[in-house]
Every structure is written in C-alpha cells, then in structure tokens.
C-alpha cells in the first residue's frame, strides 16, 4: 500500500508487551507496528504512560523484569532482535537516554565508561578510541573535549552530560540512534542547541533516528515521520508536517490543540490515559472521545490508510470534528 518499497532499517511488527504487576496484567503495548526507514527519522509521540519508553526498551533488549512479549517482532535489518535481547545488534543501535543523571555510573570516569563499550563494539585500539571520542566530544560541542575524558559524570552540567551521552551513543558508529526524550530535563535554550547538534550529526552521518517525545515542537525539528501512540496502541502515523497540520485521529487532534502555542486558552483532554491494567474494550480512546459512535467500545479499530503515506486507527476520521 503506502510507500515502504525498500526494507526499513528497523521495524516493529504487531508488538505487544505485558508486565505482570500486583494490580493485574498491564498491557503496556498492544499490537504496535512501526518502521524506521534507512536514513529516515521517526518520532513517537504520546502522553506519559502510553508506552513510549517500554517500546524503546523492547527495541534495546532491556525490558524490565517481569515483562513478557506475547506476540510481535522487532526486526533490525530483517533480523529478529527480540529473541536474543538485542545481543546481535550491540553497537549498531545507539541509545540516548532521557535522564542523564544516573545513565553513567558515578564512580567511574565518564570517558572510561564509554571506552569500555567501544572496546567491545568498535574496531581499533584504545588509542584510536580515545582520539575518536575526543573528536566526538568536539562534534557535540562539549567544552574542553580533551579534558572531558578524565572527568567524572558529576563534573559535567546537565546539558554537558546530555552532550556526553549523545557522543556515547554515536561512539560505536551505529546505524540507528534511539533517543528517549533526550532534552526533557533541560532548559529551552540548551534544549535547542542540543537538538541542533543531534540533527546535524544524524544528517552528516546518514543515520536513522527513532525519537520519543511528548513535545510536538521538538518533534517537528528532528523527525520527518511521526507515530502518535495512545495507551499502548498506534493512533496515527504519517509525515510529520501533514500530521501536525491536519491531524486525523480525534486523539491526535485534541493532543495538538492542547499545545500552548496553538491553543487560545489552556485546553486539555477530559479524563486520563487509562491504567495499563484496566484498559477499556474496543477503541481505547472511546471514553474520552468527543466523536463516540456505537461501535467504538466494541471493535478494535484497524489502521486505515488515509493517503500521503498516512494511516489512522479511527474509522470515523473523515467526519467533521465535534466537541
């Protein structure tokens, strides 16, 4: 149907992730299908608790204890990487975490920690690694790139630490970079600088990017494709511009309307994301949806193609918005 002629670099197919909790079985992800094309960038957007971080953890093979994958697959260059917890792709996927604070062990020098990973996954000797790392530190505009090797994580500021982690993610020359809201903890100006650096590095090296965020502004700067996640399911996918300009799914529409830049007043979506242990039947958005139809609480809506490479999980998307 829509334009996936070449094989995507990373594809997530019908992935479901369940976690056994005290409150019952949590269906964190349910039938998620996504693809990151070679050299492309996909943004995954959604509210807190919609399963964004779990999706990344599944891709990286670091699902929390007690998590099960009842169905689905994660394919990297056509290989299933879910079954071996990502062992075969170590060094080929770089990860930029959300919280730079405890991403590095505080008792070891930051440089040594990155070099240890390079020793395992990058060709060359320690000398080459050091030079390459200093080069990367310079590329991410870390002050005093040479001296940074000998510093401990706490000797960097938040923004510097985030730059350090971008360098770490790129240190083994991955073909895919996975980023989990890497700028959420930073102030707006630093956020901007870091996004610019990241975008530039990705473009220069021809890397693919999977970027998870809840910020549409950030999304528009770094991603050309977007997937909107709601309560563990994909609500809408398509080119970033098109989705941001004319969101089709009622949830995407309301979520975008909430953005302070667009809203005339502070808007919200009534209700909350359902608990992962107690999701409503049928369309998971129906309790909050202003365009509720009688079929919504019964049938799980399939992804429907909507032209221009877009797809929507709502049979009523062509209907004029209500409410």
């Amino acid at each position: 149907m829509s334009a996936v002629l070449t094989r995507p670099l990373l594809s997530v197919e019908n992935l479901a992730v369940h976690i056994r909790t005290d409150g019952g079985l949590a269906r964190i992800l349910d039938d998620v299908t996504l693809a990151v094309p070679k050299g492309g960038s996909l943004g995954v957007v959604g509210e807190s608790g919609c399963g964004k971080s779990t999706l990344l953890r599944a891709i990286l093979g670091i699902l929390p204890r007690g998590a099960t994958v009842p169905k689905g697959a994660v394919l990297f260059e056509g290989e299933d990487i879910l079954s071996d917890h990502g062992a075969s792709v170590r060094g080929r996927i770089g990860f930029i975490p959300q919280d730079p604070y405890l991403s590095l062990n505080p008792v070891f020098r930051a440089g040594d920690q990155i070099l240890e990973v390079m020793r395992r996954h990058a060709p060359g000797r320690r000398r080459d690694h050091k030079e390459k790392l200093v080069e990367l530190f310079r590329a991410v505009q870390l002050p005093d790139p040479g001296g940074a090797l000998a510093k401990y994580p706490h000797q960097f500021s938040g923004g510097q630490r985030q730059r350090l982690l971008i360098a770490a993610a790129l240190s083994c020359e991955p073909s895919l970079v996975v980023a989990d809201e890497p700028t959420t903890a930073l102030d707006v100006t630093t956020q901007r600088e870091i996004l610019v650096v990241l975008r530039q590095l990705i473009a220069e090296r021809g890397l693919s990017l999977l970027f998870v965020t809840h910020d549409f502004g950030v999304l528009a700067t770094v991603c050309d494709q977007v997937a909107v996640l709601y309560s563990g399911r994909v609500a809408e996918t398509g080119p970033t511009r098109a989705v941001l300009d004319t969101p089709l799914h009622p949830y995407a529409r309301m979520l975008l309307a909430c953005h302070p830049d667009r809203a005339t007043d502070l808007l919200g979506i009534p209700g909350t994301v359902p608990a992962a242990t107690a999701q409503p039947p049928g369309c998971r958005f129906h309790p909050r949806c202003p365009q509720l139809h009688s079929g919504c609480p019964i049938e799980v809506p399939p992804m429907l193609p909507a032209g221009e490479g877009r797809a929507v999980a709502c049979p009523w998307y062509e209907e004029a918005p209500r409410g």
Partner: protein, 314 residues
Amino acid sequence: MSASDARSVEPSHAAPLPGNPGEGRGGLKRPRPRFPALRRLLRDPVATFGLALVLFAVFVAIFAPWLAPYPEDAFESHILQRLRPPSAEFPFGTDNLGRDVLSRVILGTRSALLVAVAVVGASLAIGVPVGLVAGWRDGWLSELLMRVTDVFLAVPQLILALALGQLLAPGLTTAMLALALTYWPFFARTVYAETRRLRGALFVDALAGIGASTPRILLLHVLPNAAPAIVIRATIGMGFTILTAALLGFLGVGAAPPDPDWGLAVAEARQHLPEAWWFPTFPGLAILLLVLGFNLLGDGLRDIADPRLRRSRH
C-alpha cells in the same frame, strides 16, 4: 608553568584560546594527581590527627614486643614492686601485681586492634552480601534477609555479649562473636539502600542489556558506589568496637587475666582507687586516644565522600 595555568582556566574560556594544552594533543596526556582522596584528607588537620593516631597505634601493635620495656610483664608478676607510682624506671607506674603499666598498655594495643579488625571484617563479610542480594532481589528473599537484619539490629549489643558469655566460655572470642553478630546489620542496611537506589539506574539496565552477569554488575558496578559509605562505617565501627570490647573486658566477659587488656586493666584498678590513679588512667587514655583517632578519621573520610559537606567546610 603552562600546565598549571591551563588547569586554572575555566573550560568554557579555554576553548577559544590558541595553543591551550587542554585542547587536542595535551588533552589525552594531562597528568592526574595521584591519590586525590589522601591529599584531600591531609588538607584537613583534624582528620590528619586521627589518621596519625591510628597509624601510631598500628605501629605500636606491630612492634609491641620490641617497644615494651618489660615485654615479659604480659604474664609475669612481681609482688614486691606492686603499685609503684610513675617514675623513671616505670613511666606509667606498676599495677597490683607489680607489672609495668606502660608495657601492658603497649602490649594491649595488638589485641585491641585485632578485635576491631576481626569484628569489622566479619561484619563486612556478612553484611555486604546480605545487603547486595536483598537490594537486588524482590520478593520473599529480600524481605526475609532484611527482616532478619532488623531482628539483629534490635538485639542490644551488650546484653547479647553477656548472654553469649554465659552460654559459651567468657573470653575474647565470645566477645568478638557477639560484637560481629550485632554490627553486621549496619553494613547490610547501608549496602541495601545503595543497591536499591541504583537498581533502577539506566547504567545498570545498560549493563544488563550488553550482557553483564548479575554478580559482575553488583560487585564491579554497584558496590563501588557504596564503598565510601562502607569505608566510613567501618572506620567508625573500629573505634566503636574497641570501646565496646574494653567495656566487655571491664564487665568480665571479654579478655581474661592475665592478658594485657585495656578494659580489664581499668576494671582491676577499681579496687586501688584513688591511691593508684596511674593504674586505670593510662590504659583508659589509650582507649580514649585510639577511639578518638578512628572517629576523627571516619569523620574526615565522610567529609571527603560527601561533596556537599566538603564544600561547606571551606
């Protein structure tokens, strides 16, 4: 000259300076100061004093038989010269059996330190693994370990020592057993807290993600984070143990006569007070100084380990 200049320049200012050694070539080879923690400790006069006291005690303990003027006074008695006041011949005087108090203080250093090291060592050997396992695991095993820890924490140290002394033979081994049994929970709780804190840290997930085994993660990556707290706790525990061991000696369930034990000496001296003031004073001073040394050193180490405290001190 240029190297020290470069270090004093703020990194953010350093970048545009041409030929700055922090950039490029020099960056990889900048000499690092060796033993930075020791240097920082020596900058603190109080902690240095503590360290000096401890090192002095270790020195005395090692060379005790050669340092003591009358090494045979550990066991022999000379009734004719009992309770002599301090003089040139006996700088600390003699005790109720005519033995040189100075010699017995020197000879007692070794057992005081041995008790401290053995008790703290045994406590570490129990407490650290318990803390690591309980902090890492969820569920019944963790609960069980920590509740057992709580039970031991609730037992009063002296009462357990006295009870064990009655059950087994009273002596130094029994006292050490009782002290170790009541001190390990402190290490278990310290290590437990640190392991719990780091268990969810991303670097731990990343290690698991690249295939590191659980023992490797715990011993090589989590435990070093707890090391400062453990070292401080152990140092203060040494002083504490010496004090308690002396107290047990005083109560008669620690070292037995004729061992040259400081606490025992103070106990024996009770009957000869206030005339023979030198008899309890010098062993008591030895206890005081060694405990003080360990506590000051522990405090100094804590200041180094906690950056917030470090900043507030200067």
